[in-house]
Subunit: 389 residues, 2 copies
Amino acid sequence: MSGVRVAGVGLTAFGASPERTGRDLFAEAGCDALADAGVDRDDVEALLYGNFMGELAEHQGHQGPLMAEAVGIDAPATRFEAACASSGVAVREGVKRVRNGESDVLVVGGTERMTNLGTAGATEALAIAADDLWEVRAGMTFPGAYALMAQAYFAEYGGTREDLAAIAVKNHEHALNNEKAQYQRAIDVETVIDAPMVSEPLGLYDSCPISDGAAAVVLVSDEFAAEHDLDASVAITGTGQGGDLMALHDREYLARSPAADEAAEEAYADAGVTPADVDVAEVHDCFTIAEVLALESLGLCEVGEGVTAAADGRTTKDGEMPVNLSGGLKAKGHPVGATGASQICELAMLLRGDHPNSDAVADADTGLAHNAGGTVASAVVHVLEVMES
Amino acid sequence: MSGVRVAGVGLTAFGASPERTGRDLFAEAGCDALADAGVDRDDVEALLYGNFMGELAEHQGHQGPLMAEAVGIDAPATRFEAACASSGVAVREGVKRVRNGESDVLVVGGTERMTNLGTAGATEALAIAADDLWEVRAGMTFPGAYALMAQAYFAEYGGTREDLAAIAVKNHEHALNNEKAQYQRAIDVETVIDAPMVSEPLGLYDSCPISDGAAAVVLVSDEFAAEHDLDASVAITGTGQGGDLMALHDREYLARSPAADEAAEEAYADAGVTPADVDVAEVHDCFTIAEVLALESLGLCEVGEGVTAAADGRTTKDGEMPVNLSGGLKAKGHPVGATGASQICELAMLLRGDHPNSDAVADADTGLAHNAGGTVASAVVHVLEVMES
């Protein structure tokens, strides 16, 4: 079984660029990733691609071959869709293909174009990640769904709006010097608390923005990296995926995310590491409460303690285990189909030392990525490690 | 590397059932496949699922976990989308997972719900498989795209509307006793020629219908089949995938489908068989001309000779190499996301002897499935073989 290296990463700026097509965005990310890797596009054996709502935002399905063409890759392309975990799933499939010896060089990534739909249109489009018959038709949107999860969490374990606000404040702080982030603007707890309420207890600043963007990584086998003398010190050493019932009302409890528990357990076992080994994590904070659930599923906090992790300074830039140094979905932005791959990009840069926030984790050698779909009916977790050669 | 057995198959009737939801359709197919296999749903390790236009037809993305739930599978689920090759790609991923030892038991399948959109709505939705910027906005739909391919074929290699009509006549004939087929009605060449023209030279009867339906297969490892004494005589021994540029105008020529050439070459080499070994094939005849291109890509006819294969009786039920004994997309129907998996279902039944048309291929031991996306910008080919034990 071959090891899997992240040979290159490419990210567009995340934010509002409604004039750019999906293919324009992914061409930038994919070409940048190949250039960063120093890999010839003719060596690429497949494109594994995540996209969520292209049918609605661009009247464009079948994006696999379209995006291969945009990057100049003459190889089979496959699209994966798992709502907001779409490119996380694509990364997972890529890791398996390289491990199994099926491929030596893959481009894996994703794109989403959302802002052209407007906020209401994008919110409606996002709702296709929930159960249309039993949730969406009853009026539920994702802010409402995560608000239910937050209320359940507060009822079960305690926590306050201020605790959640500290997560948003932290992630905005982390994004301050990330020039690819949608928001490079500091906020404080009062800003979060005083912002318009979206769905109690989640206000505007508890919610990630609507974003356009693309991300891509070049995955190569250990052998290919060695043969081509690539600068590819970061490996993906663990992968896990979990699933859950779609509709919240079918679940045993709302204050936890068992699909992420399963994905984390599998990824840790796969890599042979434990939560104690993790130095830095990028987690799926589509809403502040989502970061709490992620930390607990990943075993980075005890159940019931994730809610105060940011307020206590444990997950801040200068804390013991910084979380979302990119700014997270909250401040970096959340172009849905790009998010899973972008987490891998950010962690690879953090671990190899060329991220704007690398200084905060100078000795880090293990990173964790957590990407969730819907109300965590899909979850994918990856472990990244710095290798000696 | 483990061999991969088709342990069970499940198919809904294809046709117009606008009152049935996608989950209702897939629940039937998935549960039937598990029952046919005699496999306990608790043994299923993942669902690999194809769907194309659920976002437009049902306002429902993220169908992986939803469909796992519908079948009662408590395992991670992933959706694959490659236009009309969506579940063909899912089958391919399933084959690889079993081979690589990652899984012993998988459910693989797909669904499409289309008739609720109406013919015009479904045609518009199908167009998301083409290049929206450069084809669809110029007014191109799939009947138009395949008409261009047919015109190019006629110009390059010759052929007549009557030749194409013989393909439709054949596939309707084959569907006569397939109770799951959308049309069980004989037609003649005059019917095809006299039908309303859709896009010259393709008339109404050169075109597959708009369909609802679902299909599922249970894939297991050789070891699991042996341990559980399953009746699983048919194996998938070869898999291949190819890709091409999306837009027709970017291609070197229109009268061939190089993505299918590549997929076939890979699948044959993978299985260690040649076109001469193939006894029966299910190919992607979304339009009559598509069957011609498929036969030539698969090496079942010389280039330029596929167009007369049906008229000459070579691919009919009593011909030397029957093609689309199910009725094909033309007469059996084409619920897009289900089609690739349904071809595997039909071939497995034909080869194991319990298909209504098994008598036509009583001595067959090798079958071929060809599933295409868009104007064959994606193609997947599988080889199925009867194993001795």
